[in-house]
Symmetry: C2
Subunit: 156 residues, 2 copies
């Protein structure tokens, strides 16, 4: 790898590989700031409304959890990578509430990695991403395809 | 409907119904603010990097579009509703870039609405949500199940 070669590239994602990374503490202030802008349902803004809800307490918007996971995968492996973007998300499951003080980490599994049939300079990697709290509980899971440039375009 | 009855409730979502609403202008400042916090890939932060990317210009993070859609459905019909939250998203497709100056609207279709088998006070409504720009292009689509309280618990 030279300094001119961004890392990681498509070739660096090996199907079956599992890595864990990150330790992001979620604050009450961040939960309320996100919710105030994007998802002001009462249980994302107010302790009492949270306790009265299915969530059992003031808890982060599911879209906030998605946004935090995005930042954690950016910091974890997408920063400086050959990422070209993503066509979408195959599935998002919000399994448990994210509460103030929770410390989140990411478990990333490479499901598969396919070179593009039409564009030899890139390939698509499908990840299963799990967001875990400090108890090891999976609070959210996603299946995310992401396009990455290839280090060796046009080879299989 | 009395003031003690939140609106809308589960019963108000009729399968097949299609409504459109909203007009939210996306600013460059908002794109960069969201990206700086949650998705600092260069093409979400910088004009030149955007032009050099698949996006063709500085464009919003897909997760920013999700967050904006959440706010638009809150303002459009979830505020004051009997929403209890959502178990997740079945599918997200980012179809076109969202650029500064785009004015977004929402097309909402009710796919189906099922009372809960185990909890007679609620039901789940599945929506197809499309985010459109001012040209009428669908920039993002999602399939979203959302739990709503029933106005008449325990009736079919």
């Amino acid at each position: 790898m030279t300094s001119a070669t961004p890392y990681p590239a498509f070739e660096d994602f090996v199907p079956g590989e599992i890595v864990t990374f990150g330790a992001h503490e979620v604050t009450k202030e961040a939960i309320i700031a996100y919710a105030s802008e994007f998802d002001p349902q009462p249980f994302h803004l107010d302790e009492e409304a949270g306790r009265a809800s299915m969530l059992g307490g003031l808890a982060a918007s599911g879209w906030h959890s998605c946004s935090l996971l995005m930042r954690m995968i950016f910091d974890g492996f997408m920063n400086g990578s050959t990422s070209l973007g993503s066509p979408g998300i195959d599935e998002v499951r919000w399994l448990k509430p994210v509460f103030p003080g929770d410390v989140l980490s990411v478990r990333r599994e490479v499901l598969d990695a396919r070179p593009s049939a039409s564009k030899p300079d890139r390939g698509i990697v499908r990840f299963r991403l799990e967001l875990l709290n400090q108890k090891g509980e999976v609070v959210m899971e996603q299946t995310n395809p992401i396009l990455f440039g290839r280090r060796n375009p046009g080879t299989a």
